[in-house]
Symmetry: D2
Subunit: 340 residues, 4 copies
Amino acid sequence: MLIVMKPQATPDEVEAVNERIRSMGLTPHSIPGAQRVAIGITGNKGALEPDVFVSMAGVADAIRVSQPFKLVSREVKEEDSIIDVGGIPVGGPEVMVMAGPCSVESKEQILEAAQGVRASGARLLRGGAFKPRTSPYEFQGLKEEGLKLLAMARDATGLKVVTEVKDTETLPMVAEYSDVLQVGARNMQNYSLLAEVGRTGLPVLLKRGLSATLEELLMAAEYVLKEGNDKVMLCERGIRTFETSYRFTLDLLAVPALRELSHLPIVIDPSHAAGRRDWVGPMSLAAAAAGADGIIVEVHNEPEEAICDGPQALPTEGFAEYAEQVRRVAEVAGKQLTAV
Amino acid sequence: MLIVMKPQATPDEVEAVNERIRSMGLTPHSIPGAQRVAIGITGNKGALEPDVFVSMAGVADAIRVSQPFKLVSREVKEEDSIIDVGGIPVGGPEVMVMAGPCSVESKEQILEAAQGVRASGARLLRGGAFKPRTSPYEFQGLKEEGLKLLAMARDATGLKVVTEVKDTETLPMVAEYSDVLQVGARNMQNYSLLAEVGRTGLPVLLKRGLSATLEELLMAAEYVLKEGNDKVMLCERGIRTFETSYRFTLDLLAVPALRELSHLPIVIDPSHAAGRRDWVGPMSLAAAAAGADGIIVEVHNEPEEAICDGPQALPTEGFAEYAEQVRRVAEVAGKQLTAV
Amino acid sequence: MLIVMKPQATPDEVEAVNERIRSMGLTPHSIPGAQRVAIGITGNKGALEPDVFVSMAGVADAIRVSQPFKLVSREVKEEDSIIDVGGIPVGGPEVMVMAGPCSVESKEQILEAAQGVRASGARLLRGGAFKPRTSPYEFQGLKEEGLKLLAMARDATGLKVVTEVKDTETLPMVAEYSDVLQVGARNMQNYSLLAEVGRTGLPVLLKRGLSATLEELLMAAEYVLKEGNDKVMLCERGIRTFETSYRFTLDLLAVPALRELSHLPIVIDPSHAAGRRDWVGPMSLAAAAAGADGIIVEVHNEPEEAICDGPQALPTEGFAEYAEQVRRVAEVAGKQLTAV
Amino acid sequence: MLIVMKPQATPDEVEAVNERIRSMGLTPHSIPGAQRVAIGITGNKGALEPDVFVSMAGVADAIRVSQPFKLVSREVKEEDSIIDVGGIPVGGPEVMVMAGPCSVESKEQILEAAQGVRASGARLLRGGAFKPRTSPYEFQGLKEEGLKLLAMARDATGLKVVTEVKDTETLPMVAEYSDVLQVGARNMQNYSLLAEVGRTGLPVLLKRGLSATLEELLMAAEYVLKEGNDKVMLCERGIRTFETSYRFTLDLLAVPALRELSHLPIVIDPSHAAGRRDWVGPMSLAAAAAGADGIIVEVHNEPEEAICDGPQALPTEGFAEYAEQVRRVAEVAGKQLTAV
């Protein structure tokens, strides 16, 4: 923490700040300048709250120097984390494609989607059984029946299952059927859920909130790691901006920026930001080019008939070619795609 | 829903859209234009999903015409809702001030704050017992002990208690001690919590998410009303923008805009957006001037010693004068403040 | 400037930073910490560019401590500036209302509007003669004829004229007819125009860009003051956010925040943000409550017939009552409105 | 335009809207619904202003159906535009790399940079001679001397020159020395400059404003095309959001979205958004993957010594490898890079 005093600050005001720092068991370091004094603080274990100082007389600003996160930080662990999802490594030299329908709808649908996904070389199957929806009047998912269908598709194809958990009540049920627990963007700061998810020990795909900073995303991940679970994948899925031409603005600078701050793998969801099938392809290639460790994408055997988000789902037909293009771009960016 | 066709759309493409509309049991209405055709849809009960049409050949855009919310809408109920909080009306001709500390810290602290609040003429006491925090390493509240202290302050002063509920697990406990359940900004789209809160039948203060549109805020309220609980107050508390000079940008245009869309009372929280005591006063007056039904503000007997958010808390000393200023401004805006 | 080193930074990397600081003629001050070293810099006259240091090995961050603006800063001039507009003081104890139509359309229109404005006690007349429009196909203003009509209305009513200047070519002409030069939001960073406007010595109303930070607004004002012209009024007129219910989000926290950073008067334009007549009233009262020095608002004798922005214009009929309400709110906030 | 009436609208209110539409020489088309009436309008040549109707009694909303832009629209011209820059085609099957220093600093610097750029296979040289800066105290460019150095580098290497024009006063001078006129983000809505630039007939690189929507960018381009100059390249260079980890948020969804709306070529500037050299590479690959027609990137022979933006400049050493990677990614996305 660095306290910046106003140019007009009196010696008494400076001393009051020093005194307060000492009363917290910390050490002030005065940096006299031509126009003003600044005071560095050392001795703190974690990040300090700037607000304590900002309200004191003579203080112009209090600037945080330490990062507020710990376990997720690359400063704590230098090498990239590779997360083991039932034998599939996420975060290593390969780019993992996770694909499947928005919602599980029926046995035929999920099986056809899973087989298409498998044929493309992807190794994780996504699909929603519990669907948090903006409107209480919209389809909320097949619930346990959906989970069972996912497990059935896993048995049939060997794909690992990624599915969303929306609350602590249904967490035990979801955990029973899934290989990766997805925490949705709207739940990114549902701290009770994060802690419970952490306690399951299962791999977690944590989506960035619509207006969450990278720091907030990392703090949310910290809630999971704090419970002893370090298997967290960070997922950018589009942020909210003033632009209305697309659903969300896909923020690909998050890939190199998160890479620097944290050792956790980074996954991109191009489907929700684009909201349209024909824009998902270019954004998937862009994600691979930016260096993502994984891409989670919506695929449907009959997109025109999908109950939800059909317009943004890629058809399973043609998906192998899509995955091949992702692989080729990822190679240039220094990654590889799993061979089939 | 209005479907806008591209200028180059063929008659077959137009007919395919008409056919799809009919297949949904709805009626298409063609509007031929000089450059292009548009197709109006009637017969739908709620809002349609534009995405179903956007992906069809020849379609340029699909524009939603109906609002997606129902029970919260002023189209459903024309007169303003007045919510009865233990005999105190929120949403009527008076502006309600709800005040108290960020966190309940001790018996002395909450009692002194409550007495100061009461002396100012305010009639609701706010105070946090369960505190969702961005960092897992920060103070998370006194929990049940905090709730008991709030109830004690209520008994001592007659003030009604507003306190935050952060998850469904602790909801029954929080509901036992409080008169108004506050749902925080980060939980605005925690639909499982909203539904449970709705089922308690208690008045709810629903805070707008950091990047929630007014429509999303109203849809979140719809989750509560759908459970048969129409005692919801909508609370604007600052939104996230590019400006970094303050914590959040207080969006006061939300007051007249929500007033037009919905019959529910509107409350403003100036403390969290401002983040600084000396900016809370002007923003409180601005909220009253904009026509808010209530103001929820942080007050502390010793702000310098507060465990959380001290710098943004108003001191109880001087709070009566603050409330008097709010009252005078509200009068000009056509509201009154409860007399002591 | 404070340079924060990474925890793993080597002594050589720290020394390289010290050396670079010394090579710039400045002095490094080391602050050793438990986890990492920070280095304060003193001796610089203005703000330093963080980028020079961020790219050096071992550097985690470079944090600016000094403000980049000078002449506009309250650190340079402690008391509030009062700007003399032909004898009318803007920035003093009174709140100035500046009102008039979006565009000057005809002699009758501007005269009726001016007389309505005058009758309400307002003392400045706004009106556009040159209109920058998003579309090249929209009405671009009456140009010199509009300026002459404004001057005529000034002669008839004694009101001072505020009008927009859109480029350096037409600046001499606009300057000849106006008492205050308005620089629009889209020109806030048109530095060539700012410098020329500064050289006229006329009072300037500088509108904040749609996504300009307060710091950028102040830097734009600095361009005017640098030319020896310190008669600048800072104008908040709504910023761009994700919310689509209104044209722009009116950012009233800018009032106390700018007040702290700068000595220049602060004006609010509630019309462009609201975009609707019935929301302009509440936002005007809110602006006065927040402590604004002035309010610039659109008024039209026949809003329904206005060539541009009619829906957001207040009718001249009823404007005196509006101004009276603003006056009453401003009084509570410690300001007064000019008596008629 | 579609007018949506309120459910409570009376027949008289509906008729008043119909009457107003007819009075504008247009035709109303009523669409009766279960809850409310909507009215389509036909007969208009361009986009109508929604505001005219929104303020009428009984009207809930007025929704624009036609796009406000014309000449830039793909509805007007279906095939992609290819812009001829002195024999170099921008917008065709190849991806053009435009590279060079932020500012022209000296003969040695610009020559070395130009030779490095040329050796990589890039064919356009960027470099600033007039630099609009946020602060009036920062380096504003070498001006005419800089332009002469650029022309000298062009003569020496055969590269075409892209340089920024910041105002109409210096436009004739800049036009004399450059092959492409760059209009900066802060000038995107400087309509006087856009029209003058249009009249030169030179190719234009138009940067998107920090918070400009795609529609506004296209409307700005329309100002240039309206003057008979259709050689406009649209350039995304990062938008302003709440995220503070990078200078700006690079919005790559703009590539497919602009592609659909317009026939003009699309260029991405990854340097200004990233602000850091090591993030420019991944973002350049991502731009190529997204389908951009060109990439404009900062390169410097000695980035550590650059007067401005050194930390975001790529070194000329290694630039050929960078360009080769871009080429390989562009191939996957269906583009090629010019062979050397």
